[in-house]
């Protein structure tokens, strides 16, 4: 059976891997906000360097990061070009409806670097945090939302179960496809519409079985005394460590740096 890497977790022994997942999620949000608050090249460069530092600290091969960048390279190119051609101000080059301005060039560079940083950071989070830790941390972080009557525990439980059943259902899809092929189903040829139609005999049994599984799982969960989040304890406790505090300090230093550089140098965008 194929090896399914869920949420692209890459096990390694690095500081980033050992950080409290809650700290990682909150820091990620802070960094993303920060990257979009860089207004000149100095602060942008500073932010980019700190992002690269984080990437190197993760001890995940750079090849993995390049792979995740490859997926969005087209988006980066298109948004950069749009920014390049639709800048405001004095044109330095004009042809038909296309006009290139200094503001456009600056915008394009900023957008390009910002998106790349964004992808690198979120990849760093998913590479260094297992899906279980992520859902766990999300559940704990969203706890205050309970006051707004948002079913936080139920959402986290749904995510956990979804993660658990992805490989199972993938395996089942393979089996059903093989079974339908054995009965003469043709799934590889024909145009797009034909191929989508050929998927129906795969999807119907898959959904039927998913519902059956859901029912059985519900019974099994009830047998194990599941009754929602009330009165439930957890085996894994999350504790803030010294290294978590240092990572928060690091984040604060980067934020301070970007703010200062924004103030001392002229805004470019």
């Amino acid at each position: 059976m194929r090896d399914i890497t869920l949420g692209q977790y890459f096990p390694a022994d690095s500081v980033l891997h050992r950080l409290d997942p809650r700290v990682k999620i909150v820091s990620l949000i802070a960094y993303i906000a920060l990257i979009f608050c860089t207004f000149n090249y100095c602060s942008l460069a500073f932010a980019a360097v700190s992002v690269l530092t984080i990437v190197l600290l993760s001890k995940v091969p750079l090849k993995m990061y390049l792979k995740s960048l490859k997926v969005i390279i087209i988006i980066v190119i298109i948004t950069s070009l749009l920014n390049l051609f639709y800048g405001t101000g004095e044109p330095i080059f004009q042809w038909w409806i296309i006009k290139v301005t200094w503001a456009g060039i600056h915008n394009a560079i900023f957008v390009c670097i910002r998106i790349v940083c964004l992808i690198l950071l979120s990849s760093a989070l998913t590479f260094t945090t297992s899906p279980t830790d992520l859902t766990d941390a999300l559940e704990r972080l969203m706890k205050p939302l309970k006051l707004l009557r948002i079913p936080v525990h139920e959402i986290a439980m749904m995510m956990t179960i979804a993660l658990r059943f992805v490989p199972t259902l993938l395996e089942e899809t393979d089996k059903i496809m093989a079974a339908q092929k054995a009965r003469g189903a043709d799934m590889e040829s024909g145009n797009l519409i034909k191929r989508v139609k050929a998927l129906v005999p795969v999807l119907v049994p898959l959904f039927v079985s998913a519902f059956r599984r859901a029912y059985e799982l519900a019974v099994a969960m009830e047998c194990r005394c599941y009754h929602g989040g009330d009165g439930r304890t957890r085996m894994k406790q999350l504790h803030m460590q010294v290294r978590d505090i240092w990572s928060v300090v690091f984040t604060l230093v980067v934020i301070a740096g970007v703010v200062l550089l924004n103030i001392f140098f002229h805004y470019v965008v």
């Binding site: 956990t160 599984r213 799982l217 009830e222 047998c223 194990r224 005394c225 957890r234």
Partner: protein, 282 residues
């Protein structure tokens, strides 16, 4: 007083049968299980044996009659969680019982639900995984395990709640012979070493032979009961109700019909060979 006491239980599901009239799934079923006993419930599909399993941990409440677990009435809703914590139920399909994507977290699911403190959950999980011999696999994802291993993890998930009794509803039906062997030896070990009461629901005669007591069900009724030897010596009765007896028993039963002198019908192949050797030596 028996640990499990099923008294004149009748049950039917809500949905209408083909004839438009509801058929009783359980019809006046009574039996008892003592603490520490290993009991097998035997029957073919549709005999009501799975329905019985769900009555033992208050997943289903009898229509009439009573089920008592250590004196607790299953129809009393305030006792439901107490009962489920003391009587664990392992189901047929191991894939559909595991909740988490890491083995040890799945085993922790039960104790987490009943509010055990974190440190103690850790201990219980390690203990339970060692008891089913899956400790080395504790950090693996369930989909990377074999069927027998998954079913053992499911059993560990129940043991971690420290139940007095485990009910297994055809736990080996979806496993290969090796997985079946793994699960059965685990169950036997839990019964012998940890003193956990076992109710094994099955349609394999070879599994029923392992039990101290066998209950045979057919179309919702309790057909017969007794030690495996008592039950399987009634070859004619079993055949009449479309149930088999172990091959060794059947062979000797046929030989006896041919006039070979056999005093007592054997249950296992070993017994059978020993007995035949005795008969054939003049």
């Amino acid at each position: 007083m028996d640990f499990i006491s099923v008294q004149n239980v009748t049950f039917q599901y809500d949905e209408q049968g083909e004839s438009g009239k509801n058929k009783l799934v359980l019809d006046d079923v009574s039996f008892g299980v003592k603490k520490g006993e290993f009991v097998a419930v035997l029957g073919h599909n549709g005999s009501g044996k799975s329905t019985i399993a769900k009555h033992l941990n208050a997943m289903l409440i009898p229509l009439s009659g009573k089920v008592y677990i250590d004196g607790m009435d299953t129809s009393d809703e305030s006792l439901t969680f107490d009962i489920r914590r003391r009587v664990g139920l392992v189901l047929q399909n191991p894939d559909n019982q595991l909740v988490a994507s890491v083995v040890e977290e799945d085993v922790a699911f039960g104790p987490e639900n009943i509010g055990i403190p974190s440190d103690e959950i850790r201990e219980r999980v390690d203990e339970a995984l060692k008891a089913v011999d899956m400790y080395d696999h504790r950090l693996k994802a369930p989909y990377k395990l074999s069927g027998g291993q998954k079913q053992r993890v499911a059993i560990a998930g129940i043991i971690a709640m420290k139940p007095d009794c485990i009910v297994l509803d055809e736990p080996t039906a979806m496993l290969d012979p090796q997985g079946r062997e793994e699960v059965l030896s685990t169950v036997l070990k839990l019964n012998k070493e940890n003193g956990i009461t076992i109710v094994l629901i099955t349609h394999y005669m070879e599994e029923a032979v392992l039990a101290e007591k066998v209950y045979v069900m057919d179309s919702g009724k309790m057909l017969t009961s007794g030690t495996p030897r008592e039950v399987f010596s009634q070859v004619e009765l079993m055949k009449k109700h479309r149930l088999d007896v172990p091959q060794a028993t059947e062979l000797c039963h046929k030989l006896r019909a041919c006039g070979v002198e056999i005093k007592e019908l054997p249950l296992t192949e070993e017994e059978c060979t020993a007995m035949l050797r005795e008969v054939m030596t003049p």
